[in-house]
């Protein structure tokens, strides 16, 4: 009893609450019973419908496993994330999260608690399906390892899906918008288990390829920590340095995956570059929406030592900090891939992504500029600058095409009309690079004072006071 108390005291309170709610929730118990019933019915029907040559067939276990794993994956990937994340969406207007954040519990404990509860819920559902899965082994056609590997893959996917849902429900959008996005998210979750089952069944004849497991494991290993850190950042109070966790996590994932990919070379390094560049480009748009003046509480964590302040700068919330971090990621990725490229084809491929990223920077800077100095600021808050940036990118892609069509409908796409389109850089990367660089420089000049202001305000509270006093 004493040990149980000791354990109970140290367990994350969120895990404890989620577990209690799971046990009490009629919905959860109902889903579990339904899940069990489907398993029984599917297995029963399959066994009844087996032909008389069952004893000689070596594929019954494999076939039944395919059906059961599809049911299991669907049920878990839909139910677990929804059960874990939807309460957060429901609590949005009830101060529930606020009350937690003014206790001594940390945002990471809230998300880790949710994730841990989701994990135990998944294990619980798996334990329900385990006897049926083992039954397929007895029917032959599938090995125990494949059954366990499939279950492990499902658990991994469920956790990624849960982390993704936790990110979604904490996004700073209206409740209606979040509900719509949640429905969309749940619908797209149908695709993953279907694709997963298809791949498993397709690969069965020659056995599941090892690359498949490596790829899946890599995706999970990268996406799970990144999504979890994003969820923690979104749960954190708006006045905290929300950028720190995700940027540190992404940097570590980027670094580790980069080292592995550069060792493997060729396709792997190309995949790393593509993902890094696209990720950094999207992050540039997101950074444009961050508060340009650090709050008092954020300032408290800015290093007092100027030498430490410099490397810390990219890891703080703020447009300039975010863009610096993105450019560092992009620049180092390009340099690493370029210097280890084995062919001229690879070098050209890597070079094409430079203007792509510069365009995203240019549009982010343009969005920030327009939002600050034009009438747009009346209806576009700072936090929505990313949307304006996305809109500008869309305009940059479509408007030149329309202009070209109006001026000369008979001619095909011409370089002049493609300048400014980040998705048309593949044809003439060098020209695009020059144009994107000039555009960036112009926008940096236009945003000059604002950017310098961000640099100057990146000081701990006392240093800011001293600087203001000196002025």
């Amino acid at each position: 009893m004493m040990r149980l108390d000791w354990f109970s005291d140290r367990i994350n309170p969120v895990v404890l609450r989620e577990s209690r709610q799971l046990v009490r929730s009629r919905f959860a118990v109902g889903i579990m019973m339904l899940f069990l019933a489907i398993m029984v019915v599917v297995s029963g029907l399959y066994v009844v419908s087996m032909n008389q040559n069952a004893g000689r067939s070596f594929t019954h276990g494999q076939e039944l496993f395919g059906i059961l794993s599809a049911v299991m994956s669907l049920a878990m990937i839909l139910f677990v994330p929804a059960h874990t994340a939807l309460p957060l969406l429901l609590q949005r207007n009830t101060s529930g999260m606020d009350l937690l954040l003014i206790s001594t519990i940390r945002p990471r404990a809230i998300i880790w608690g949710k994730m841990a509860a989701a994990f135990w819920m998944t294990i619980l559902l798996l334990s329900v399906s385990m006897p049926f899965m083992l039954f397929t082994v007895l029917l032959r056609g599938i090995g125990l390892f494949e059954v366990l590997a499939s279950m492990a893959t499902t658990v991994a996917f469920v956790m990624v899906a849960t982390a993704g849902f936790l990110v979604l429900v904490n996004l700073p959008f209206s409740r209606v918008m979040l509900w719509l996005m949640s429905v969309g998210y749940i619908m797209q979750l149908f695709i993953f288990p279907t694709v997963l089952s298809s791949i498993l069944l397709l690969g069965r004849r020659g056995g599941v390829p090892t690359e498949y497991y490596i790829t899946m494991a890599s995706l999970v290993a990268i996406s799970l920590p990144i999504l979890t850190s994003l969820a923690i950042a979104l749960v954190s109070p708006a006045v905290s340095n929300r950028a720190l966790g995700p940027r540190v996590t992404i940097t570590v994932c980027w670094l580790v995956s980069g080292i592995v990919c550069l060792i493997l070379k060729n396709d792997a390094s190309e995949a790393w570059l593509v993902l890094s560049m696209i990720g950094a480009s999207i992050a540039m748009l997101v950074s444009a929406s961050e508060p340009s003046v650090p709050s008092q509480r954020v300032r408290r964590s800015i290093p007092r030592n100027p030498l430490l302040r410099l490397p810390a700068f990219p890891f703080f919330s703020g447009p300039l900090s975010g863009w610096t971090w993105c450019l560092l990621i992009g620049f180092v990725t390009f340099l690493a891939c370029h210097s280890t490229a084995s062919s001229i084809y690879s070098i050209n491929f890597f070079t094409e992504f430079v203007p792509f990223m510069l365009y995203f920077l240019a549009y982010s800077l343009m969005a920030a500029f327009l939002r600050r100095v034009t009438f747009i600021r009346r209806f576009c808050p700072e936090s929505m600058t990313w949307l304006l940036g996305g809109f500008l990118i869309a305009l940059g892609c479509i408007l030149p095409f329309i202009a070209n069509f109006i001026i000369d409908p008979t001619s095909g796409p011409d370089l002049l009309w493609e300048l400014g389109n980040p998705f048309a850089v593949w044809d003439d990367p060098e020209e695009h690079q020059v144009f994107a660089t000039l555009l960036c420089l112009l926008l940096v000049l236009l945003n000059g004072r604002w950017l310098v202001g961000q640099l100057r305000s990146f000081r701990p509270p006392q240093a800011v006071q001293d600087a203001e006093g000196a002025e």
């Binding site: 005291d9 309170p13 209690r20 009490r24 929730s25 101060s95 606020d98 009350l99 008092q296 509270p461």
Partner: protein, 309 residues
């Protein structure tokens, strides 16, 4: 323990929610925070409870800044939001236990704290009920209990009496009085002004992000009521009484209201007593002679304009 708010400022886009407000009060006092919707009450409460950061100024709980040291402030503050707990699948005991754990309480300390709260709030007979099954009054008790778990010296309550029936309000009032006796500093916002008059030692009246008045009801009354108002109901000869009153130098105004003569007097209670003596000496028979006093509602209506941010 002292709550001190200094030049607090908060802007949301174009709206200035708080425009440099300042006030202070000590432990053992219940202060009412009064103002129309959108006046800045909830914003102030959220800043004091460290949920929000001000754009300017600061607030101190026992000398600790909510801006510079919010972690320390959280140890001293309990917050009761206007929204009541509504969970369908969590019981009262589990709810309180969860927040006790969230405050890092372990073992005997947690059990002791929970026992104390259950006893204090009187929710002992409904520990196994789910929160959704409770009445509003009981939910409010649970909410207050949750805010008291870490034994805070300061309690912030946002519209605690809203939606409560008379019995629940009286019970809440009793609960607050006990807390004030325990030397807790309580700041509560409310629209029910009569309730605040009975519970609070002082009030802070806010409108459009600015403090209009602060102090005890008596102090504010004294400030606002520069002239003394008397209501006189003569038994007979009303017109003669009126004429006699008009001749007195300190009488500034006189009108008839619901069968009574309402007299504005330039002076204090002494001047009122002199008038009564004069009327009696003149042989007038009076059925009623009383001083008209402003209640919180009168004060509120006279100084606010109903402006919303």
């Amino acid at each position: 323990m002292k709550i001190k708010v200094q030049q607090l400022r908060k802007v949301f886009g174009k709206n200035t929610a708080l425009d440099g407000i300042s006030f202070s009060f000590d432990s053992g006092h219940i202060f009412g925070f009064v103002g129309p919707n959108g006046a800045g009450k909830t914003t102030t409460m959220r800043i004091l409870s460290t949920m929000m950061e001000p754009d300017g100024g600061d607030a101190f709980i026992d000398g600790v800044s909510v801006v510079q040291d919010p972690e320390q402030v959280r140890r001293h503050v309990g917050f009761v939001p206007d929204a009541l707990p509504e969970h369908k699948d969590i019981t009262v005991s589990e709810y309180l236990d969860f927040f006790a754990r969230a405050y890092g309480m372990r073992g005997m300390r947690r059990r002791q704290a929970l026992d104390n709260i259950v006893e204090f709030t009187g929710v002992g007979n409904m520990l196994d009920k789910t929160l959704a099954a409770l009445s509003k009054g009981m939910k409010q008790r649970v909410s207050v209990g949750r805010a008291l778990l870490n034994d805070p010296a300061v309690i912030l309550m946002d519209e605690p009496a809203a939606g409560l029936d008379p019995r629940a309000r009286i019970e809440l009032r009793e609960l607050l009085n006990v807390l004030a006796e325990q030397k807790k500093a309580i700041l509560m916002s409310s629209h029910i002004l009569s309730e605040l008059t009975e519970i609070c030692h002082g009030v802070i009246i806010i409108e459009q992000g600015r403090i209009l008045e602060t102090g005890t009801v008596a102090e504010i009354k004294k400030r606002l009521q520069a002239t003394l108002k008397l209501a006189i109901r003569p038994l007979d000869r009303k017109e003669e009484v009126g004429r006699a009153l008009r001749q007195l130098p300190k009488v500034e105004g006189l009108h008839e209201e619901a069968g009574e003569l309402v007299v504005s007097v330039d002076g204090d209670e002494q001047a009122g007593a002199d008038i009564l003596t004069y009327l009696v000496q003149q042989g007038f028979r009076l059925a009623e002679f009383r001083q008209e006093s402003m209640d919180l509602e009168d004060i509120f209506m006279s100084i606010t304009k109903g402006g919303v941010q």
